[in-house]
Structures are given as structure tokens and as C-alpha cells.
Symmetry: C3
Subunit: 413 residues, 3 copies
């Protein structure tokens, strides 16, 4: 579906873009225009964002048949709807008559198994088929006017979709999710809380920020006290080894996967999984380091580790023994990105008894507010015509890897 | 005056526009770019909006010599001023010295018959002539520096103006207004109330919405209970016939006029008039269906009909036996349109005695708020790069007609 | 530094700009595009704003070593920091690593003589040298990654800087400042108050407005009652003569300098100085015309004059015997300009005893609020496609001179 009815690009702008890509200095941040140019943002959508899979929601947020959530990306809007007890669909939220949004609330429930456009009452089934359209002149074949359907994969409770007409192969991603979210029991999780942060910055700055922990010690003291990952590799080896020993002792097996970006399989979606230890005495990502909710999945105890996994360019996950955190990055326009953070707990956990929302969300709320601020300051500095991209540190390999991948995608290779 | 000092258009953009126009599918909504592209919006102004007549105000809003109102369109601003007891003028609200707005309030009264620019005190007569300009170096001929004057037609209390240098012939419009607003007594009306709705959508979506009643049943239950026009033609024929019978019985003669858009006379302004019945037992557009104000014009009683008339692309009118409603659409920028709604009653009607403003305005306030919402949802959906214009229903012939007309105007034919 | 990494300009736009410049009518305001086109605003920065010196701050606002202020221009941000007791530096507020703002507050103090980027903790000395950068892969030479340094001149307490790689000669400006701000004792002044006004208009309208007093009588009654300058030359000659006599009697010698704009020395910065009398009985720019603070500099009494001086295109000054007023114009984007007004008093003056802030700031707060309004009305009118630039009056020679200068700079001569 990507590129379907895209506006044509004036040829000299493409040439210009190719020149910009060619003059990138390896190991350095991107040039200003990649973070500030509205035309390049449209290319970001065409050539990368709309081609990859991304997380739409956790399945627990549409529990009953007919429940839906509206999910955005750029100027696009999708309806994620449970179309049958064991089936979830993704439908383009654009009426096939005159283009109105069909669902106009962030979430809701289709009455009588139908999605009715509020403008002219064209009525669709939960599978997107057009069921009713009054007063249409003949010839009119309703089967030509269903809501556009997007591919969906539900893995371990995570609903993925993509705008791509020929979607990237999801097999590696599925295997990696089974080996990570699966072990963490996310198929039997529920959403305990979510927050959306509006960031006045280009989406790539938000992703680069997520991808590196060079900034953790200066900018995230709360995270750094709990997560070994904030330290340079040389300072964390022994602690990480100890963490793996604890996991082994509990029988937790989560294999690293490194098929991210340029390392992804040909035609396959990008995926990475790795674990990193928590500091000594830290069981979970809480203020006092103590457990916060019921143990999940295969975890019979706290092994003092966290599991990071990433699918495609904008969907990132972080799992502890007793809860999970999802980061959904939602590029909206060249200088505006939304960041939705979703906290998961065991589906049987009871708020107030098994967990306290304020305690559960404290670390990643604090960290997200810090991230919004530092990413916006980053954008402000980059807006300078005198900005010169500097070299990445040895603690930013994943940011560098993201940027290399991005440029290759943008070049259309 | 249109095109006067317009910025030149890069030739390849015009070519692109011609291609877009050529690929329009008859009977379908417009392509996305017509609703989202800032460059096309400038073309809309040059080739359509600034060439047609539009309603500026009702004459009762500038009752005394010197009274003025400021009226906007796009980035343009006009002063509508009563320059003599029986004379109304339209002046460009741009000082001929350095370009300041001359009138900086929405309405007011020229003191001592003069309009003085608040910046450098250049002072103009109510006819726009420059009267005073201090300290101007010779040679300086004040007669070269009057405020630009726009053509004005006042018909049945309705003040029309246009930016066109060679205005479209207004004779058909004048005749049609006499046969509609005239019968409804709008020359002896006054403004009872007005509201302005700010709509985050392209102006054409607001016009298409006004032009069709396919959406009335789903989106306007209050309107649909009172107006037969909400129904498909096949379901309303008998009731409409009955309505015409009631009009005949009261001696009300308002002829249909169909010179709208592509059906307008060569060189003449677009105009249409038609009547439609109210539902049984409904006398006026009120909550209980009962009359709300003094009878107007030729109406000796309530005939249970409403009269719709339209002049040019953005001025629309709706008359009942006891009150009137004016819709002024004010395109401001590509994604922003203002919609002013003006309620008229008999000039001798007394508020509190003859009419109650809350009752008078209830239906069209309700309907306008609904319209703002549905038009904005329409725009949001159209912003999708996957939006495909769908076919108009048989209840949207006037929307289709508007779109055909628009494309022809934009093509410059 | 100007033009350093500037995005390339499509050639046909430059050609278009040259055509626009060529068709300017001498003695008239600029065409609309110069006030509304975002591309031309970028040219304004490249070819004029970033090439000239501008006032960053008064030295008293960074009294101690380590004190800094952040100063903006367009999308640029500079750190003005006292790097040693007798040394002030200007550093680009863009980290050399990934581009974050280094200082993120309007003012502050570097702790331990270091400026640390809040993102990844790259740490710079007050001279901009990079002192600490953790975990950088070899080869990495810290001396390659200092903050960019801009030239600084501190004259009579006024801190000037420029983005120009080859700065304009500042000798004339320095001499003129010594002969004006020096006589007024601004080297021994302090900031008593400052205000920033956000003006929704192009910066050139704000400058033109500052440069002419044709609007003073209609728009600034408070100013006009106190300043003879509000009158046309023919009406003020006798009073100005009397003012000069009073200055002579007090031994105040401030010579006129007229090297503004096109009259500036080749390769030298633009500068002008002139004095103008206050009205009879007015000692200072206060509500009651009476003195407001301690006498400054060479002034042994009030001579009933004001001294106007200007350096470059956006830095303007006004001095009385007992206080000073600085206007900093800060172009931000094509339709947005900030105007910072700074009030100076004798460095030993004590608030509450020697001066009252409300009294001190009354006239120029009142006048600035009026200026914001009239400049915004000017912009609104100019946005009309029917705006035709009119002729300057004989009371606007400096506005005309500014416009002529601007066009020459923009043409790149």
C-alpha cells in the first residue's frame, strides 16, 4: 500500500536528497536537513516508516469482539478492531465514500458488529467490508468499497501492522518475540497504564535517543542507579556476567538476536533482543528497587535483569520479571513526534492489591519526561545553520546503526 | 482587481495543476491535493474566490452614515461602510502609504465622516478618497492614493462585493434575490444574532458539506426532523407537493432558479433558488416547530416551506416565513475556514417580545456545531496518502456540481 | 562563519529575488514578498543579519566570571559568558557532539568554570575548549571539538558579537559609541529592567517603525509630548537649537555620526549618532517629565536632550542624562520578531531610593506596546495581494535609508 497514491516528487529534490545521503560522514550524526526538512520527512514515511511493521497496541486493549482502538502514524489513522474472538484486524480509518474518519474517538466499541461512518452512514463490517451505502447510483459494487485492510500479526499479545503492500517477512520477528515477550508472559498481560508524550522534535532524534545510553548517566540518574546498561561496557562486564548467572539459576533462557537494521535478513523485518543486568539489590525498575507486581511468564523469581527488544524502526520493548514497558514512537510531522509509553502487568494482577500504578510507572515516567526535554534541546541546537554533526561515542553504536540503516532505506536500496 | 499584483506562479506548478485537473474522475470527490496543498489554495483565490461576488453583510449592520464593518476573505480585508444614508461602499482595508490596516476593529463608526489610519494618520473620506497626508514630498497627488474601491450591489438588504476587476454580471443574481429574499422581506430585516465557527478544514469541504443533504439523516437529526430535504427525492415528492399547495394557498410565489456553477449564464454570476417543504406540523425551524418571530415580507402566514438560495460559491441563504439564516463561508488558509452564521428577523421585531434569541438560533447553532465536527473529520481522513476519492451518491448532486464548477474555474476556462 | 553550512539556494529563486530587487521603486516601501516570504527571510539572515554586529547584552548582566546569558537570532543561539574578570566571550550554543543546546536556560552560572552539555556531558571551558568527552573512539582530538567562538567587542559596557567569518570593521562603531554611550556613562551602568515583546510581523517592519517618527504623533501621544523628534523638522528647529545651547552650557559634547547603511565606510559597520531635544520643562522620559534616577557619565545636570545611536541593522540605543534604553530586535522567523527593551541606570543607583522601576519604564513600555500593535496591523495589511507600497513621507528618511540599505545587502553587493 505504501507509495500507492503518493504525490510525485520533483526530480531535482530527489537528486538533492541523493547528494545529501552521499555526503554523510560515517560514524557521525545526520546533517541538519534530515531533522528539519518537511520534504525529507515525507520521504521518511514513503521509504521507511510506511514500509515496516510497527506495534499498534497490546491485544488486551481490545478484549471483546467489536472493541477498537485508533492508531496514528504521520497523517495516517488505522482502526485496530477485534473482529472475532480470536481475530484482530487493522483497517484504514478513511471512509471510501468522501474520506471522513470512520472512527473518531481514540477507542470504543462497534455497535452490532458494524463500523458506521458518522458523516454519511456508510456502514462497514468488522472485516472492513462495505455493508450499507444508501442511494448510490448504479453501477455500484459494494465489494469495491471496503475499508482498506492492513496486514496484522499478533504475537505474544502484541499487535503489529504495516502499510506495506508487500510486507517484510515477519518470521524472524515472530521467533524473536516468542523468545523474549513469550518468556516474559506478555500474551497473558494487560495494560496497567499508558502515557503519551508530545515531543517537539524530529522522530529520528527520539529514536537515536532511545537507541543509546551514552546520555543515561548525565541525563537519567534514576535509570542509571538501577540499570547496569548506563555504564560503558568495560565497567559492566562483571555485573552482566553475574546477571546471566542469576538468570541461569532461575532457568530463564532468552537468546540475543541481532538482526537490526542493516543486519536484518534480506526481505525480513528488523529485530533485536538483548538482556542487561540490573544493579545489585535491584529486583525491578522501581523507586526502592523492590518487586512491584506479580511475576510474569516463565519467571519463578526475580533474576535482576531487563530484556530489551525492538521490532522495526519505531517499536521498542523493555521487560522485567514483573512488568513490561512498551515504547511506541509516532512520527507526526517533521518537528513533532508522539511517544506512547504503555505499562504491562500480569493479566490477573489486581490494581491496589498486586500493584500500585504510581509505583509501577515512576521510573519510566521520570525518564520519559527527561527524554522529552533532552530531545527537544537536541532539536533546538540542530536547527542552527552552523550545526556540524559530531562523531558518535563508543556508547552509541545502536544510534549509529540506526542512522546507517535509515540512510540506506532513504536511498531506496 | 484579481490578479493585480499577484506573485508569479512557477510554470511547472501550473502544468502540474493542469494534470491534476485532467485526471479528476467525474462523479467523484476531488483528489487530496485540492484539499491540502497551500499552492492550490492560492489558485483557488486567484481563479475563483476573488473573481466572484460574495455577501459581505446585511445592510442593517451599518445603519447610520459612517458605520462600518470589516470583512475578511483569505488574507484580504475590506471595509464595508455606509458612506451616505442610501449608499454603501466597499474599500480595501490597506492604507496606501505603508499598508497598515486602516480599520482595526470588527466594526465601528467613522468619526466626522473620516477613516484615519492609526499608523501615520493618513485620512480618507467615506468614499475612500485621500483627504489628508502630512509631510509628503512633492510631487504628490492625493487623488492617486485613495483606498481601493470594490464594486458593491445592495439587493434586498444584502450587501455584495467582489475583488474582480471586471465583475461578473449581477443581473440574474439580482432578479433571483428579488424573487426570493425580496418575497421574504429581507430588505426590512435586521440582524438578530450571529456566530462565527472556526473550521480546521479546506473551504471546499465546508461548501460540499453545505451543498448536500446526504449527511443530514446520519449527522443532523434535529434538522432532519424538521426539513423534508433530508430525505431522498423518492421519499419526499408527495410532501413537497403538499408544501407547494400550501404556498399557493397563501399566494407565495418563489420561482426556482438554476443558474448555478456551470449552468450560470456566460459572464454572469452563479445563482440558484429552490424551495423545500418542512415536515408536517412544522411552521418554523424551531425546537417545537412553532413560529418564533414576526412574519416577514409577503408572508401572511406560515406555509411550511423553506427557501434556499445561493449567490456565487461562498454565500448561501435560507429563509423561513418568520426568519432568515445566512451562511458566509470565509476561506482563510488551505486548512482553515471560518463560517459566519447570521440570523435575520423582521426589522420591527422586538427581542424578548417578538422573538427569543436562544429559540431562534437553536436549530442552526446545533447544526453548525455538528457541521464543524464532521467537516473536520472529513479533512482528517483526506489527509491520508491512501485516500481515494469515492463516488457521490444520488443525494449529492449539488456537491458534485460544485466540484465540477470549481475544477473548471481552476483550469481558468 | 555566515554561509558556512547554509543550504544551497535553488538558482531560479535567486534570479527571482534579483528581479524583485530590481523592480523596487525608490522612495517606496518594499514589495509584499520581502515581508512575507520564508525563503527571503533566509536570505535576510544569510546576507544581512548574520553578517553584521549586533548587541548581545549589557556587560552588567554577566558580572562574575562564569555568568552567562543565552542570546538568540533566527534559529541561532549564542552563549555570552564572562570567561575571566575582564573577558567576555560568545560561544555557539550547539554541542559539537550531537548538537544539543549546551545552555538551556536564559541565564545562569557555569559551575566550576565549566559548561557541561546536559545531554551527554561533553564539558567545555569558558573559552569554549572541549575539556571532557567520555568514551570517544580514537582517533579523537579534543581540540577539534571546541564550541564555535564568535568575535566579541565590549565597548562602554555594551557587548557586541557577529556571526560573520570576516567581521566588518568595528572601529567607527567603537569611536561613535565612545562619543555617545561613553559620555552617557554606560560603562558604569546596570540593567534596571528588561521586557521582551513578541511581535507577529516581519523584522523589517519593526525596524522601519523604529527608524521613523512620522507615526509618533498619531500613535505615540506619550512620546510626542516629551520628545521634539515627533515633530516635522520645520517645527522643531528652534527648540533643537535651544537644546544644543543647554548641552553646551553643561559641557556635553556628543558629535553626530552619519555612517548608517549605504553611508557606512567600506568594510565598516553601520553607525549613526544624533541628539534631539526634549520638550520644554522635560528633563527625562518620565510621566511628569522629572528626573528619575542618578545622573550618569559626563552629565552634571539635565540638558533636556536625548541621544539616539544605532549600530548595525538591529541594535538601537537611546540615552537620557539619568537612564538609558536599549532596543534589541530579534528576527525569529519571517512573521515573528522579538523586541527586547533594556533599561539602564547608574550602576550605583539603588532601586526604591534612587529610582522606581515603574516610573523608569513607563514611557517605553507604553510606547513598545503601541509599537507592537501598529507593526502587527501593518503586517496584516501588507499580507494583502493588493498591497501596493506607497511613498515615504519627508519624516521617514531613515526608514527609506534602511530599506535602500537592506536591498543592497540582499542583492549581495
Amino acid at each position: 500500500m505504501a507509495g500507492d497514491r503518493t504525490e510525485s516528487v520533483p526530480p531535482d529534490q530527489s537528486a538533492d536528497l541523493a547528494r545529501r545521503i552521499a555526503r554523510h560522514r560515517p560514524g557521525h550524526a545526520l546533517d541538519r536537513a534530515f531533522y528539519t526538512d518537511a520534504g525529507i520527512f515525507e520521504r521518511d514515511l514513503d521509504r521507511m516508516l510506511l514500509k515496516h511493521w510497527f506495534l499498534a497496541a497490546h491485544a488486551s486493549s481490545v478484549p471483546r469482539t467489536g472493541d477498537f482502538r485508533v492508531v496514528d502514524l504521520g497523517a495516517e489513522s488505522i482502526i485496530i478492531v477485534r473482529s472475532a474472538p480470536a481475530e484482530i484486524r487493522a483497517l484504514l480509518n478513511v471512509c471510501r465514500h468522501r474520506g471522513s474518519r470512520v472512527c473518531t474517538t481514540a477507542s470504543g466499541r462497534a455497535t452490532a458488529g458494524r463500523l458506521t461512518c458518522p458523516y454519511h452512514a456508510w456502514t462497514y463490517g468488522l472485516d472492513g467490508r462495505l455493508l450499507v451505502a444508501r442511494e448510490m447510483p448504479e453501477p455500484f459494487d459494494r465489494s469495491d468499497f471496503g475499508l482498506r485492510s492492513l496486514p496484522v500479526r499478533v504475537v505474544e499479545g502484541l499487535i503489529f501492522t504495516t502499510f506495506a503492500r508487500e510486507p517484510l517477512d515477519f518470521a524472524s520477528a515472530e521467533a524473536a518475540l516468542t523468545g523474549s515477550a513469550g518468556v516474559h508472559g506478555w500474551a497473558k498481560a494487560k495494560v496497567a497504564h499508558s502515557e503519551t508524550y508530545s515531543i517537539n522534535a524530529n522522530w529520528k532524534l527520539a529514536i537515536e535517543n532511545y537507541m543509546e545510553c551514552y546520555h543515561c548517566q548525565p541525563a537519567h540518574p534514576e535509570f542509571s542507579k538501577r540499570h547496569v546498561y548506563a555504564r560503558p561496557a568495560a565497567q559492566s562486564e562483571a555485573i552482566e556476567r553475574e546477571g546471566r548467572r542469576r538468570a541461569d539459576a532461575l532457568g530463564i533462557v532468552i537468546a540475543d538476536v541481532d538482526e537490526y537494521g542493516e543486519s536484518s535478513r534480506p526481505g525480513g523485518e528488523s529485530v533485536s533482543v538483548f538482556r542487561s543486568a540490573l544493579n545489585e539489590g535491584v529486583d525491578s525498575a522501581t523507586r526502592d528497587g523492590r518487586r512491584i507486581a506479580r511475576l510474569m511468564g516463565a519467571f519463578g523469581g526475580h533474576d535482576g535483569n531487563s530484556t530489551y527488544f525492538d521490532i522495526g524502526p519505531i517499536s521498542d520493548f523493555l521487560a522485567y520479571a514483573d512488568h513490561g514497558v512498551i515504547y511506541r514512537f509516532i512520527p507526526r510531522s517533521v518537528l513533532h513526534t508522539e511517544m506512547e509509553v504503555i505499562w504491562l502487568v500480569h493479566e490477573d494482577a489486581v490494581e491496589g492489591t498486586d500493584y500500585d500504578v504510581a509505583q509501577l510507572t515512576w521510573l519510566w515516567k521520570t525518564t520519559s519526561i527527561e527524554d522529552k526535554r533532552i530531545v527537544e534541546h537536541n532539536q533546538a541546537g540542530i536547527n542552527s545553520r552552523f550545526f556540524e554533526p559530531g562523531p558518535y561515542s563508543s556508547q552509541e553504536p545502536y544510534a549509529r546503526r540506526f542512522v546507517d540503516w535509515y540512510l540506506r532505506e532513504l536511498a531506496g536500496n
